[in-house]
Amino acid sequence: MDVYSFFIQLLNGLQYGLLLFLVASGLTLIFGIMGIINLAHGSFYMIGAYMAFSLSTLTGSLFVAIIVGIVLSVVLGVALEWALFSHLYKRDHLEQVLLTYGLILVFEELRSLIVGNDVHGVAVPAIFNWSVPLTETLSYPVYRLFMSAVCVVLAVLLYLLMAKTRIGMMIRAGSSNREMVQSLGLNINLVYRLVFALGVALAAFAGMLAAPVSSVYPGMGTGVLIICFVVVVIGGIGSIWGALVASLLIGLADTFGKVLIPQAAGVTVYVLMAAILLWRPEGLFRRI
């Protein structure tokens, strides 16, 4: 590999990693900080992508679609929390796994009933619909760069929210002792409802943002979910920074794995994971 391709591959890896981060951050928020295991997270990503498709066809603009989509996903998040997840905080993880597993099936079937099983594309917004030439044959789509920038901004915002605000403290406190938070006169139920909705919105947002480059297809949620699991496992549960570092690592491992050892491309990230767990059983970072 010449230096030039090396740098382009590096860029590929980072960009892929940042996209992973966007999904994984919502996951680590709900998993690690709220203490709920939510397998349906991938479905929210899928729902986001399908919303981007339907809404942008309807409104003609991806940005309008994203704004409407965020509102809708917050509503969805609040409704789900109210109807289902609020019953789960006191239950054990096994039941959380199953309930959210059931949700995956439901969402996947509903998707097939409502929008069918076709693959759809979403147009890249006109202002980003151009590419920067890198070599005489290869150019890089600007939209991908834009996505990466959005991811970085979100990472910083999320970190600030969790680590520096009272809301963040309340969320973390709630994951260790809900009763006590209530006894302090704080409405933890409301906070959790909103945080859950935030997590859903993050996943859906990731789906919407990624829709133009990933296209929209059945089963897209589960693929993302699994790799995000690996991100959270490597990064350490509940850590935003951990998720960021792990996403980038996986992005790079995956990209270079495909180029350098194509025979084992599917397993490179898992080997990476095993190696990291051997060194740090609880992931790279634990908590914020």
Partner: protein
């Protein structure tokens, strides 16, 4: 003679649900055109959703064969499931007609007297495209596909024909199924600068690849080609990025022949949607069954006679003419198609009466 029991084992949920439905529609249309009967017998359909899950395939096939005791089994889309079905059908000596799955092995080493296919084999479109590219005097090619049987067979067909015509495949790239993160491969392709890139993807992967390929600015210098699945049913999603792509398949839009015109009219009338290649394959599956049944006057116990009639069948298919090879695989024209707007316009015949070499079939 009671009703003829037909088991339809097809995907009705999941990624391939649309294909399963189209095949079913096509099959039933042919039966309806035959007066709703086959050799005078009414039909009892038994449907099972195979979910495109090979792990459930043996059980699902058993359900139809042992529980429902069907006379003939029709299915399916997914090659892995079809392979498992073929095995069960062989073990139980049940007549099986495959309306889509392209795994070469089914009509190769695994071929059997009771197993027929009315669709295609994976290598066929590849062979045709390889030949066309060689004729266009392309010297070098790179191939890319998912690392699974269908992809490898398709690429294999391309490579064989392309290199036979004097070209050279400089690199064969594979990525794990069903990953869709292509960026690093695009970088690799840009570095290799071949004359043409042949890929096999379907569904979501096909959409994403075509778009990524265009976004990377590659089509300007390196043309992209592939089997028809690259652009079938995905043009809506691929939009601009797919314009002008060349693909090969045994069917296409704007194909002109009387049978096709009639078929399209009838199908649209019956189901209110446009037919696609899968509907054609389902339609032909029923046509083939009708030929066999007529030869034995509806008496399925005369299996040998029935098989003989089916082997000799010359079907008037919407795709043109359709005959069967020794391995019970279609012999048909493969068309060269070009994407124009939302259509895969047939621009010519890539190979006439293509029959792929029946490797390993002991029939």
């Amino acid at each position: 003679q009671g009703k003829l029991k037909v088991g339809l084992m097809l995907p009705y949920t999941g990624t391939y649900a649309a294909l399963g439905n189209a095949i079913t529609n096509g099959f039933k249309l042919a039966v309806a055109e035959n007066g709703g009967k086959v050799a005078g017998r009414d039909i009892d359909y038994f449907t099972v959703d195979d979910e495109s899950d090979p792990a459930k395939a043996p059980e699902n096939a058993n359900k139809l064969i042992k529980r429902d005791q069907v006379d003939v089994l029709v299915g399916t889309v997914h090659s892995g499931v079809a392979l498992a079905m073929a095995k069960v059908a062989r073990d139980n000596n049940t007549l099986l007609i495959i309306p889509n799955a392209g795994a070469d092995d089914i009509t190769g080493p695994l071929c059997a007297a009771n197993i027929f296919r009315t669709s295609f084999s994976n290598s066929q479109p590849g062979i045709a495209m390889g030949k066309v590219m060689a004729e266009q005097k392309k010297k070098t090619a790179v191939t890319l596909t998912w690392d699974y049987a269908a992809g490898k067979e398709s690429v294999g067909g391309f490579k064989e024909a392309f290199e036979a015509g004097g070209g050279k495949v400089v690199k064969e790239l594979f990525l794990p199924f069903p990953q869709v993160e292509f960026q690093s491969y695009l970088t690799e392709i840009a570095a290799l600068k071949p004359d043409v890139v042949y890929v096999f993807f379907a569904g979501g992967g096909a959409v994403k690849f075509v778009k990524d390929y265009a976004a990377a600015g590659l089509p300007k210098t390196i043309p992209l080609v592939g089997p028809g699945f690259l652009t079938d049913g995905t043009l809506e999603a691929q939009g601009e990025a797919a314009q002008g792509l060349l693909t090969t398949l045994h069917y296409g839009d704007g194909l002109k022949n009387p049978k096709n015109d009639a078929f399209r009219a009838a199908y649209t009338k019956a189901y209110k949607i446009e037919p696609d290649v899968y509907a054609v394959q389902g339609y032909d599956a029923a046509q083939l069954l009708i030929v066999g049944m007529n030869a034995v006057k509806g008496d399925v116990s005369k299996r040998a006679e029935m098989v003989k009639a089916m082997e000799g069948a010359k079907l008037d298919s919407p795709r043109g003419s359709l005959a069967l090879s020794k391995g019970h695989n279609p012999i048909h024209d493969i068309y060269l198609r070009k994407v124009e707007g939302k259509e895969n316009k047939v621009v010519g015949v890539a190979v006439k009466n293509l029959t792929d070499p029946p490797r390993g079939c002991k029939l």
